[in-house]
């Protein structure tokens, strides 16, 4: 990318025995994460898969630095982390273009440069020509595109995504998944993707980390060695999906 300096091979994430406890009002402790360890290679696409409310998002928040872990070690190669939330979390009073460059405004004061960056990433997520729209004038899918563009605009080493497509209808979500893979291949970002959809995780990622419930533990890591671009309806994807489903049911 045109800005942000070096493009070295950074973006690997390592978690070692990371635990997280909440102190309850009564003085007791609730273990949310228990000894989570995993590695994410740079430029890879990894999914964290687990049921709703199991603590997947907590893992992401810890990596993003929004929350503090109780013990263990989290290491990220590279300083910049981009985040995409389940809801777009856009500023409705700003235009699409201004939303995309929001995180950069503190670092770059050159308006022309900001415009160029906004333009670049809007084009990347398929929103060219929408710069003067306000978020409420866009559909949910398009709002989520803006959110992705905003996360990419800081030229992150790691892109963390917290169920970004779960609020969208399946048709839109499918389209966006394919585009996300295209963006991933174009930019070579490390992507860590949280989801509760087995099909989604299998379709998207090279590695799936399966998380169990209460407290969250990673009980399995599956590699998916299928080439990209992947096709919906591919029988091999379906077989892996069935296998993972069975494993979940046995849990």
């Amino acid at each position: 990318m045109a800005h942000g300096g070096s493009c070295t091979a950074v973006g690997a994430i390592t978690l070692k025995n990371v635990s997280k406890e909440h102190v309850l009002a009564g003085g007791g402790r609730l273990s949310v994460l228990e000894s989570i360890s995993f590695e994410v290679a740079d430029h890879s696409f990894t999914s964290i898969l687990g049921p709703s409310g199991c603590g997947k998002s907590t893992i992401l928040n810890l990596i993003a630095g929004l929350d503090k872990h109780s013990s263990g070690e989290i290491k990220i190669d590279g300083a910049r982390v981009g985040l995409v939330f389940q809801q777009p979390r856009l500023l409705n009073w700003r235009t699409v273009a201004d939303n995309v460059v929001l995180p950069l405004e503190g670092q770059l004061s050159d308006k022309a440069a900001l415009r160029v960056i906004a333009q670049t990433y809007r084009t990347l997520v398929g929103l060219a020509g929408h710069e003067d729209y306000f978020p409420l004038q866009l559909s949910g899918g398009m709002q989520q595109r803006v959110a992705i563009a905003r996360a990419l605009a800081i030229d992150p080493d790691v892109l963390l995504m917290d169920e970004p497509f779960s609020g969208l209808d399946e048709i839109t979500a499918r389209k966006l998944r394919q585009e996300l893979l295209r963006i991933w291949q174009d930019t070579g970002k490390t992507i860590l993707f949280v989801t509760h959809s087995i099909a989604e995780s299998v379709f998207l990622s090279q590695q799936v980390l399966i998380v169990s419930e209460k407290p969250a533990r990673i009980f399995k890591s599956t590699k998916i060695d299928l080439p990209y671009p992947r096709q919906y309806g591919d029988i091999r994807l379906f077989e892996i999906e069935t296998k993972l489903t069975n494993e979940f049911l046995q849990l």
């Binding site: 993003a64 929004l66 985040l83 939330f85 809801q87 979390r89 500023l91 409705n92 009073w93 700003r94 235009t95 929001l102 995180p103 405004e105 503190g106 729209y133 306000f134 978020p135 409420l136 004038q137 866009l138 559909s139 899918g141 398009m142 905003r150 800081i154 839109t172 389209k175």
Partner: protein, 188 residues
């Protein structure tokens, strides 16, 4: 008058967190505005300053409550988004919190203006030798219906002018993002 509105707004803004102020604000809200006027006239004399102080103190509680509501309604998810992207504190306040408060500030300014006019007339009626209130009282004394109506009409005209020349354009500009383009809702 405008001074009263602005100070009211600023006071409301800067005391946002203070819970203990709640009861004081409530007291201020329940004290009849005319009491404010009378006390100010007694303390500060029959002058413009008394009018301004009366207006300020009467408008302040309503304004601060409105702003307080606005602050309670702030979307914390957006704030945490700002934190996730490492926005500075001041940037979060300026770019994420303030825009969410703006509609409340605007609404309370409108409300405060309404209160201002009422108190102002009352103060003028009781203790001033000029202004609409004074005129109303004067012509009431002479039992001149025409003049009372004329002054009221003047009053209305000024209010309309303020509403349509100042508030409406500001509001339109600030809330233009709410106007949707329905056709685009379905375009993917």
């Amino acid at each position: 008058m405008v001074l009263g509105v602005t100070t009211g707004t600023i006071m409301g803004l800067s005391r946002k967190g203070a819970v203990f102020l709640d009861s004081w604000v409530l007291v201020g809200l329940t004290v009849p505005a005319i009491v404010n006027s009378i006390i100010c006239l007694l303390w500060l004399g029959l002058n413009d300053r008394a009018a301004i102080v009366a207006i300020g103190t009467a408008a302040f509680p309503a304004v601060s409550i409105s702003i307080l509501q606005g602050i309670k309604g702030i979307d914390t998810q957006l704030v945490s988004m700002g934190q996730a992207f490492h926005l500075s504190r001041s940037a979060i306040i300026r770019k994420i919190i303030f825009p969410q408060l703006l509609p409340h500030i605007l609404a309370s300014m409108r409300y405060a203006l309404g209160i201002c006019w009422k108190i102002c007339t009352t103060v003028e009626l009781i203790g001033m030798s000029s202004g609409v209130g004074y005129q109303l009282n004067y012509w009431f004394g002479l039992f001149s219906m025409t003049q009372v109506f004329a002054w009221t009409l003047l009053f209305l005209l000024v209010m309309f002018a303020i509403e349509y020349l100042i508030f409406k354009p500001i509001e339109k500009r600030l809330t233009r993002w709410r106007t949707g383009v329905p056709a685009l809702q379905w375009a993917q």
